[in-house]
C-alpha cells in the first residue's frame, strides 16, 4: 500500500505567505505558542509556589487572588496548570523525539534496503503494534517505577513504529521517482540518496505526523498520570490534577474544569497546527489544472 506523494512545488517564502492565510494553521500556531510560552514562563515565575501547601485556604473558588481557584491542598490551580504544562509538553515532546529519532531512520532504511530487512522491520512493527499501548505503558512504569522519565520511555516506545511506518510509506513513494534514478546514475549510495533526496521530500509528512503524535502524547501522559504513573508530586501534572478533582466534583468543580480545559486546548492547538501544515503543503489542495 504505497502512498502516492505529489511533491509540493513552492518557494519557502511562498509557503510562509500562504500559511498565514490558512485559518487552521494560524489558530493552531497561536494556541501552541501560548501553551509553550506558559510552560517556559513557569520556570521563572508562577503566581504562587506550587510546592507550598496551604491547607487553610483549601478548595477556594476562582477569585481575584486565585484566578483558577485552589485545590484540596490549597495550591493555586493556575500555577499548577502552568507547571503542569511544562511536564506534559516535555513528556510528549521527548516521546515524539524518541519515536522520530528511532522510527524515521528505521523506516527510511527499510524502504531503501527493501527485501529481508524491510520484511524484518515490518514484523517488528507488527509486534510492537500488537501490544496494547496503554497497558504496556502501565507494565513499563510498574516495572521501573512511576515517574516522568518512565512515562516518556513508555509513550516513546509506542511512537517508534508509527514513525517507522509513515517514513517507510513516504520513502517507498519517493524511491521510484526519476530524480532518484538520476541520483543513482550519478553514483550516489542509497544512504546518501536517503539523506539528500528522500528525507527532505517526506519532511512535511513527518511534520504532520509529528504534531498528531505530539497531541496523542499529551493525552497519553494525562492518562498515565491520571492512573498515578506519570510525574510524581510535588511536580504537578494535568492528569493527576484531574484525578484529585474527581472526588470533589460537586464541591469544587473548578478543580476539574481548568486542567481538563488545558489538555483540550493544547491537543486542539496541536491538531489544528498539524492540519494547517498538511493543507498548506498538500499540493492536491492547490492543483487546479
Amino acid at each position: 500500500m504505497t502512498l502516492h506523494i505529489d511533491i509540493p512545488e513552492e518557494t519557502f517564502s511562498g509557503i510562509l505567505a500562504k500559511a498565514f492565510r490558512n485559518s487552521a494553521f494560524v489558530a493552531g500556531f497561536v494556541v501552541t505558542l501560548l501553551i509553550l510560552a506558559m510552560a517556559i514562563a513557569s520556570y521563572a515565575w508562577t503566581p504562587y509556589d506550587v510546592t507550598r501547601l496551604v491547607i487553610s485556604d483549601k478548595t477556594q473558588a476562582p477569585s481575584l487572588a486565585h484566578w483558577f481557584g485552589t485545590d484540596h491542598f490549597g495550591r493555586d490551580i493556575l500555577s499548577m496548570v502552568m507547571v503542569g504544562a511544562r511536564n506534559s509538553i516535555a513528556v510528549a515532546l521527548v516521546a515524539v523525539g524518541i519515536g522520530m529519532g528511532v522510527g524515521v531512520p528505521l523506516g527510511a532504511f527499510a524502504a531503501a534496503r527493501g527485501g529481508l530487512v524491510d520484511e524484518a522491520l515490518m514484523r517488528l512493527n507488527d509486534l510492537v503494534f500488537a501490544f496494547p499501548a496503554l497497558l504496556s505503558a502501565i507494565m513499563i512504569t510498574a516495572i521501573f517505577g512511576p515517574g516522568a522519565v518512565n512515562a516518556i520511555i513508555a509513550i516513546g516506545i509506542f511512537n517508534i513504529p508509527v514513525f517507522a511506518r509513515v517514513a517507510r510509506a513516504g520513502a517507498l513513494a519517493i524511491w521510484p521517482r526519476e530524480f532518484i534514478l538520476a541520483a543513482r546514475a550519478a553514483g550516489k549510495s542509497s544512504t546518501q540518496i536517503t539523506v539528500e533526496h528522500v528525507l527532505p521530500n517526506i519532511a512535511t509528512l513527518l511534520l504532520v505526523q509529528g504534531t498528531i503524535q505530539f497531541a496523542l502524547g499529551i493525552l497519553a501522559e494525562a492518562g498515565l498520570s491520571y492512573l498515578g504513573l506519570g510525574a510524581q508530586p510535588p511536580m504537578p501534572s494535568w492528569g493527576r490534577m484531574l484525578f484529585d478533582a474527581q472526588t470533589r466534583m460537586v464541591v469544587a468543580p473548578w478543580m476539574a474544569i481548568f486542567p481538563g480545559m488545558a489538555i483540550v486546548v493544547t491537543v486542539l492547538g496541536l491538531n489544528l497546527l498539524g492540519d494547517g501544515i498538511a493543507d498548506i503543503l498538500d499540493p492536491k489542495s492547490r492543483r487546479q489544472r
Binding site: 510546592t51 507550598r52 501547601l53 491547607i55 487553610s56 483549601k58 478548595t59 484540596h72 491542598f73 490549597g74 510498574a142 517505577g145 512511576p146 498515578g228 510524581q232 508530586p233 510535588p234 484525578f243 474527581q246 472526588t247 470533589r248 466534583m249 460537586v250 464541591v251
Partner: protein, 492 residues
C-alpha cells in the same frame, strides 16, 4: 442535524421507563473498596474477607461488639479456672451450618486444631499460640487448656481468623463459604460483587434484610455518583475527601466513628541518619498533625501521640510530647550535625491517607530542610520492599489490627526498633490479665514509644460511614474489620 435530534429523543424516552420504583426495601447494596482474594477468613490476612463475612456468614466462639467488647456467640457461656489456664465453653445447641449439617463441639476442636497446626495457612497463628490442647467433653461442651494464662484469649477467639468451620467444607470455603451466621453465601461475580441472602435455618434472631450485596468500587471518585444515583445505599468506609459533597444532603447520613487504625509515619530506625534519636524527634516536631488531618482526611480523625487508639480504655494522650515546632526541629537537626538537612525517600502505599498525607508531610519536612522524594508503591511492592526487605527510609501506613502495640517488640519487624525495656513491658503485659496492672503497663509502653519517637504518630484513622438516612443498625466505629449486618434494617 434532524437525524441527531431523533436519536437523542428516542434514547431519553426509552431509558426513563427503566428505573426501578422504590418498594419497601429488604435488600441492601454496600460499597467496599477492595475485593477479597477469597472467602475463607481463616486462610487470609486481607481485611476485605472479614468486611464481608465476619458475623454475617461465619461466627466464632465469641464475638466483638460495636464498642469492641467481647460478646458470647456460638459459646453460650464459659467458665475460667482459677489459674486462668483452662476455659470450658458451653455451646449453643440446635445450631446448623448453611449446608444443613449439625454444629457441635467436634467442629470447634477441628477449627482450633486446624488453625494452630504447623502447616496452617492461618494469617494470625499468634492468636492460637497459647493453646495447649482442646478436649470435647460432650457435643455441647469444649474444654480449652492454655500453656500460660492469656488476658486477651477471649478477645482473640472473637477475631475473624478464629471463626468455626465444619471439617467437611473447610477446604472449599475459599470459593463457597459455609458458616453458621444469619446470612448465607449466594454468588460471587469476580471483580464486581458478592451477594449474601438471609439464611433460613439460623439459630438466633433472624436478620431483617433478605439480601445484601457487597459491590466492589475501587475508585474513591465513583463513591459519590454511586450514592447520588441510588446504585449503592451504604459505604461503611467512605472517602474522607468526598464527605463534603454529601454531608448537607438530607437523603444521606454521615457517621464519623473511630477505628483501630493508628496512622503513623514509620521510620527505619536502623538506617542512618534515622538511627539518631534527635533526627527522629526533629521529624516529630516538624509534623503539624492538624494540617495533615485537614489535608489528608478532610479534618476527620483524632491526632495520636503513641500507638494506641483514643477510643481504647487504656489510651494515654501523648500528643503534647512533640508540638509542631519548626525551630526546635531545626535545632535538633543541628545537634545531630545535619543543619543543612538531608535527602530521603518516602514510600507511599495506595490508600488515600498515605498518598495525600505523604504530600503534606513532604512539604512540612521540607520546611525543616529534610527533602523527601515521594515514591508511590502498590501493596505488593510495599510488602516486598518495605515490610520484608526493610528497604525504605520513611513510609506511611495505618495499622488497623486491634490492640497491636506489641508489634514494636516483635523481632525484625519493619521498624527495626529494638528496645529491651519496651520488650520487657510487653512480655509482662502478655502474662497479666488483671485490668489495672494491664492499664499501667500499656501506659508505660505508650510513653516509651513516644519518648523514643520510634515513628511519627499522626492520627487515628476515622471510620467515615455514609449511608441512606432511612438505614439503621450499621456500626459507628470499627473496633474490628467487619460490616456486621445482623442488626441492619430499613426504617420506613
Amino acid at each position: 442535524m434532524r437525524l441527531w435530534k431523533t436519536i437523542l429523543a428516542a434514547t431519553v424516552l426509552a431509558l426513563a421507563t427503566g428505573t426501578s420504583a422504590f418498594a419497601a426495601r429488604t435488600d441492601l447494596v454496600i460499597g467496599i473498596p477492595l475485593e477479597p482474594p477469597h472467602l475463607d477468613p481463616t486462610a487470609g490476612a486481607a481485611a476485605a474477607i472479614d468486611e464481608v463475612l465476619y458475623a454475617n456468614v461465619f461466627e466464632g466462639l465469641t464475638r466483638i461488639g460495636p464498642k469492641g467488647e467481647v460478646l458470647p456467640d456460638l459459646a453460650e457461656s464459659w467458665t475460667i479456672s482459677d489459674d486462668g489456664k483452662t476455659y470450658t465453653f458451653k455451646l449453643r445447641t440446635g445450631v446448623k451450618f448453611h449446608d444443613g449439617t449439625e454444629f457441635d463441639a467436634n467442629d470447634v476442636k477441628f477449627s482450633l486444631d486446624r488453625a494452630r497446626a504447623d502447616n496452617s495457612v492461618n494469617a494470625q497463628k499468634g492468636l492460637f499460640a497459647a493453646i495447649d490442647k482442646v478436649d470435647v467433653i460432650d457435643p455441647a461442651t469444649v474444654k480449652v487448656t492454655l500453656k500460660n494464662p492469656q488476658g486477651s484469649f477471649l478477645y482473640n477467639m472473637g477475631w475473624g481468623d478464629a471463626v468455626i468451620v465444619a471439617p467437611e467444607t473447610a477446604d472449599t470455603n475459599k470459593e463457597k463459604p459455609i458458616g453458621t451466621g444469619p446470612f448465607k453465601f449466594q454468588n460471587w461475580a469476580k471483580g464486581s460483587s458478592i451477594t449474601l441472602v438471609k439464611s433460613d435455618n439460623y439459630w438466633g434472631s433472624p436478620a431483617s434484610l433478605d439480601k445484601a450485596e457487597f459491590r466492589i468500587v475501587p475508585d474513591a471518585a465513583a463513591y459519590v455518583p454511586a450514592l447520588l444515583s441510588g446504585d449503592i445505599q451504604a459505604f461503611p468506609f467512605f472517602d474522607a475527601d468526598s464527605v463534603a459533597q454529601v454531608k448537607d444532603d438530607p437523603r444521606f447520613k454521615v457517621v464519623i466513628g473511630s477505628t483501630e487504625g493508628e496512622t503513623i509515619l514509620s521510620i527505619n530506625n536502623k538506617k542512618p541518619p534515622f538511627d539518631k534519636l534527635q533526627v527522629r524527634q526533629a521529624i516529630s516536631y516538624a509534623l503539624d498533625r492538624k494540617a495533615i488531618i485537614d489535608g489528608a482526611s478532610a479534618g476527620l480523625g483524632q491526632p495520636i501521640g503513641s500507638h494506641m487508639s483514643p477510643a481504647n480504655k487504656d489510651y494515654v494522650d501523648l500528643t503534647g510530647r512533640y508540638p509542631h515546632d519548626v525551630a526546635k526541629a531545626k535545632e535538633l537537626l543541628k545537634e545531630a550535625g545535619l543543619e543543612n538537612g538531608f535527602k530521603a525517600t518516602l514510600k507511599l502505599p495506595p490508600p488515600a491517607y498515605a498518598r495525600l498525607g505523604g504530600e503534606i508531610i513532604a512539604s512540612e519536612l521540607r520546611d525543616v530542610g529534610i527533602d523527601l522524594e515521594i515514591i508511590p508503591v502498590e501493596w505488593a511492592q510495599w510488602l516486598d520492599q518495605v515490610f520484608t526487605k526493610k528497604d525504605y527510609d520513611l513510609t506511611i501506613v495505618s495499622h488497623t489490627e486491634p490492640n497491636d502495640i506489641d508489634i514494636y517488640s516483635r523481632k525484625d519487624y519493619y521498624f527495626n526498633y529494638d528496645n529491651p525495656a519496651f520488650d520487657k513491658v510487653i512480655a509482662d503485659l502478655n502474662l497479666t490479665s488483671d485490668e489495672a496492672k494491664r492499664k499501667e503497663l500499656l501506659g508505660q509502653a505508650q510513653k516509651i514509644l513516644a519518648d523514643d519517637a520510634v515513628v511519627g504518630f499522626l492520627f487515628e484513622l476515622p471510620k467515615v460511614g455514609v449511608w441512606d438516612a432511612k438505614l439503621q443498625g450499621l456500626w459507628e466505629n470499627a473496633p474490628i474489620q467487619a460490616n456486621d449486618l445482623t442488626k441492619v434494617k430499613w426504617s420506613d
